[in-house]
Symmetry: C2
Subunit: 554 residues, 2 copies
């Protein structure tokens, strides 16, 4: 069996290696346009940051063997043609035309099975000045080397990052480690569009606390300067710079597939079955060039990630070799380290859930990620998205210095299994004071959702409060914090009465019965108790501020 694989970064080498192991007689040839193979593209920001010291570390196995063509031949039994471009696929003849970029020579390569792992390419916006040598993108090792070189030459003091997605924000932290003054410019109303707005607000605050300027709803018009970009012109004014990083997203590289007449999905990625098979049964595809299925909504989606590429590569390999493995889909799970914060999400966002037709109920919850008395405990803020009718968990988002990735991984597992918030609330998660509160954060957050669904109390989200205040609704806020807490973090949003929780059972008569009351405290646990006390005394118009003051995003 002759197998040709096009693409040598993540999905391609994974597929080839697995095929070689499953079918030792297969002749596997991997074609890669670039010099480097199987390198850790996701590691580039950490290489720029200097946390990863050597380029080599990104291209080695964990024991330090460089993954070059000799390695692939000797260890993986794959012939690797790097610096070789695939020009076209002849599906009738089952051949590929390739060109050796060193010699310029072209030849045909025959295949029985073909695997496309052509990856993605960074979007290059048509901004005047894109060609200045200090305007960088971040995809290849060569990009990272050039940025490092500029940093070494002290040419990264005032950096403008164009695009507030994952790579833009990772590069923000990487360059801030070198002392750069950084401005992130984002065309959309918020950075990190994978996250819901209330949570992004906290990420922006954290970035600003580190000296990073974040300018949303701002469109770049041009890069200006003589010899190099010195000014980023935007519709909101000029920003001086000595370096620009452009990271406005990636697109699936489907040129070959399209030329060959393979079906392309509506997200722009190659359409594949759960077996990773394209519309041609002898051609498979995996990694950043394919469209995936979002598991909750069943809708097509495009979420390029190294983790998915590896999993899909294995599935493709098993099926190429005559086995039967399926890749069910993704949840859009993502995580990013933003200075001291972990920012992560999985499943549907609130908006996605509404669009998918769910009757959405959400909860915000802020709590220490370990026993509150354990010194290493750090706050995490969670947002749970669930369906009122089926009670299914649909999504989870987390922001904060604590270990949010753990809760998101639990949620990803639970959502995949179509668990309800009740199921999640009863999970036997690992508890000891250095690892979680007795009630893990995700359990508490799901219990809040359960209380809402069961009508135990009514919550009001920050977004709803803001809208209500803008409408001029006659809300009375009930602050049940202690006087010391109030003095330390005064409340300024609107008319407020302060009755510490411990005194509420004596003093509830001071409150008006005919006015909407919004109870809160620092994290709204006492706010919830307060609402329950007032309901017990016959108040009928009491809501709890979701997430408390700590999570107030505006």
């Amino acid at each position: 069996m002759k197998v040709v694989i096009i693409g040598g970064v993540a999905a391609g080498p994974k597929t080839g290696a697995k095929i070689s192991r499953l079918a030792p007689d297969a002749q596997v040839t991997l074609v890669e346009k670039g010099e480097f193979l199987s390198y850790a593209g996701c590691g580039l920001p950490y290489y720029v940051a200097g946390e990863v010291k050597e380029q080599k570390e990104l291209m080695c196995t964990p024991v330090g063997v460089v993954r070059d063509p000799v390695f692939f031949q000797n260890v993986k039994n794959m012939r690797v043609l790097n610096r070789t471009e695939a020009l076209g696929i002849d599906r009738q003849q089952k051949t590929i035309r390739i060109r050796d970029l060193k010699s310029g020579q072209e030849q045909l390569l025959a295949y029985d099975k073909l695997v496309l792992a052509t990856g993605a390419y960074p979007v290059r916006p048509p901004i005047p000045g894109m060609d200045f040598s200090n305007v960088f993108s971040v995809q290849k090792i060569e990009d990272a080397e050039a940025i490092r070189e500029a940093v070494a030459q002290n040419k990264a003091r005032d950096v403008v990052i164009v695009g507030g997605g994952l790579i833009g924000i990772e590069m923000t932290e990487a360059l801030a480690r070198h002392g750069a003054r950084i401005t992130v410019v984002e065309r959309l109303p918020a950075i990190l569009p994978m996250m819901d707005p209330e949570l992004v607000a906290h990420v922006i605050r954290h970035l600003e606390s580190k000296g990073v300027k974040v300018r949303c709803s701002t469109a770049v018009q041009s890069f200006e300067g003589s010899g190099s970009a010195q000014i980023v012109k935007t519709d909101q004014g000029d920003i001086p710079c000595d370096m620009v990083i452009v990271a406005v997203g990636v697109r699936p590289n489907v040129f070959l597939a399209k030329d060959a007449g393979l079906e392309i999905g509506k997200t722009g990625g190659i359409k594949v079955s759960a077996h990773m098979q394209t519309s041609d049964p002898d051609i498979y595809a995996a990694g950043d060039c394919v469209q995936a299925v979002e598991l909750v909504s069943g809708e097509p989606c495009y979420v390029p990630l190294g983790s998915t590429a590896n999993k899909q590569g294995r599935v493709a390999a098993v099926n190429v070799c005559g086995g039967d493995d399926v890749f069910p889909g993704v949840l859009g799970t993502a995580v990013i380290k933003v200075f001291d914060y972990t920012v992560a999400r999985t499943g549907l966002s609130e908006e996605q859930a509404r669009k998918a037709g769910f009757e959405v109920v959400t909860a915000l919850s802020s709590a220490p990620d370990k026993a509150h008395y354990y010194p290493a405990a750090k706050t995490i803020m969670l947002k749970v998205i669930a369906d009122r009718k089926s009670r299914r968990l649909l999504g989870l988002q987390v922001v904060g210095p604590g270990e949010g990735d753990k809760r998101v991984d639990v949620a990803a597992t639970a959502i995949t299994a179509r668990m309800t918030v009740d199921d999640v609330a009863h999970l036997d998660l690992a508890y000891a004071p250095p690892y979680s509160p007795a009630m893990d954060n995700i359990i508490t957050a799901c219990d809040i959702v359960r209380n809402k669904i069961d009508g135990v109390f009514e919550g009001i989200t920050p977004v709803e409060i803001k809208e209500s205040l803008e409408r001029g609704d006659n809300i009375l806020f009930l602050d049940v914090r202690s006087p010391a807490e109030v003095a330390a973090m005064p409340f300024t949003l609107g008319p407020v009465v302060n009755i510490p929780l411990g005194g509420l059972r004596q003093r509830w008569a001071e409150l008006p019965r005919n006015r909407q009351i919004v109870a809160f405290c620092k994290i709204s646990l006492r706010g919830y108790e307060a609402a329950m006390i007032l309901q017990g005394e016959g108040f009928t118009n009491v809501k709890v501020m979701d997430g408390g003051l700590v999570m107030w995003p505006f």
Copy 2:
């Protein structure tokens, strides 16, 4: 509705508070024998260690309010009778006889619904010398205070910990922080019986690297000394000491329940339904006094934990108030910090899985918990337990400095959802270099199991290798590490041939075809590649050493 709750530590206060919120008109009375309420018993070792500075922190809400009877009355609307003992239950009259321990006065308390949250008590083994004042147990705040006092007086230089369970090992670390020389004495062949032996071996090594002596299969005969215990006499010799901690387990406190004729389960805990109802429909029970169901086997089990107590308390409260909530059971999930290691587990152990009738297949896997080039990456060693026939994940155990608790929580969720190893291998877990390898550790480990089940390769566990060597089997080991690695960590178990993996495709003919070959490397990833190369060349008797040299436990 009159509700009486007996027990004021974890499940009791949780149940009472939830009832008060759901049914504001209920008259809730909580009876607690001790002085202190709702304190964090699990936090005692960290208080002894000095990580938690003030006793008060263990008894406060996260915002620093002490949970005393006044707090419960004002905030939770519960009457609390502390220093009050429950003497007996009259189920016909629906009354409880209580005694005020301050005044000695007795009275009857009427109930409509009764909740038993009587907790557990530490086993007090009948060892001569148990009454010496420097022989401590660890259950109450008073115990921790007494131990701290002895430490402050420099009376904890040579400490013997009797019992190598969770509390014994937590206390080991706590006292080592004060500079104590510590010997752990365990009657069984290994400490931490929740863990499988191959993994415990690594924990013991780590303890020894911290200067802790671990003596297993050693029975304490007596504590000897004049005025205080100065010698721990064991069947393996004497151990000098100036402090002894006895932590040989806990038993459910079911005296009241038994006296009242309530059904007791075969594990010794109160038998309850999934609604947390005892054999008397007006009496509920929750927390460390009840028997739970192990979710994989469906067998009764007894796993006292603060996390479970809180969840059960909420379920009991909902049902007391006429709602309908069920507590499905537990997985024996546990986690413990042992100096720099996280040691955790969930689901069935290998032995439990065999006993439950599964056709067990296991995998050992060792890898960094983050991208291997990311500087903060640390090793974790995993053992996966699965069922060959159904392909279900049955259990996961982890040991090492990396973040094992995250993988165990994912596994606990997956096992609860009855996921197969295939399902787990395709999970969309959160990936970025600071959080996990591109293929998360649990995914890699499940892929190894899948390869074994699918017959892609055959593994041999350290236990099997040891048995085979002891039988005198003619094994040839194939070490495919580099010469530098071999020099750094020589292999001494048996006859070995060293062929670095990169040379194996040229040199396989040097190996005998008629002898069992066990291939390995540091973590057995290259060992696996080697086995695949040899199988490809027609070798039929090649196995891979599970987990590689790093996980060799003996």
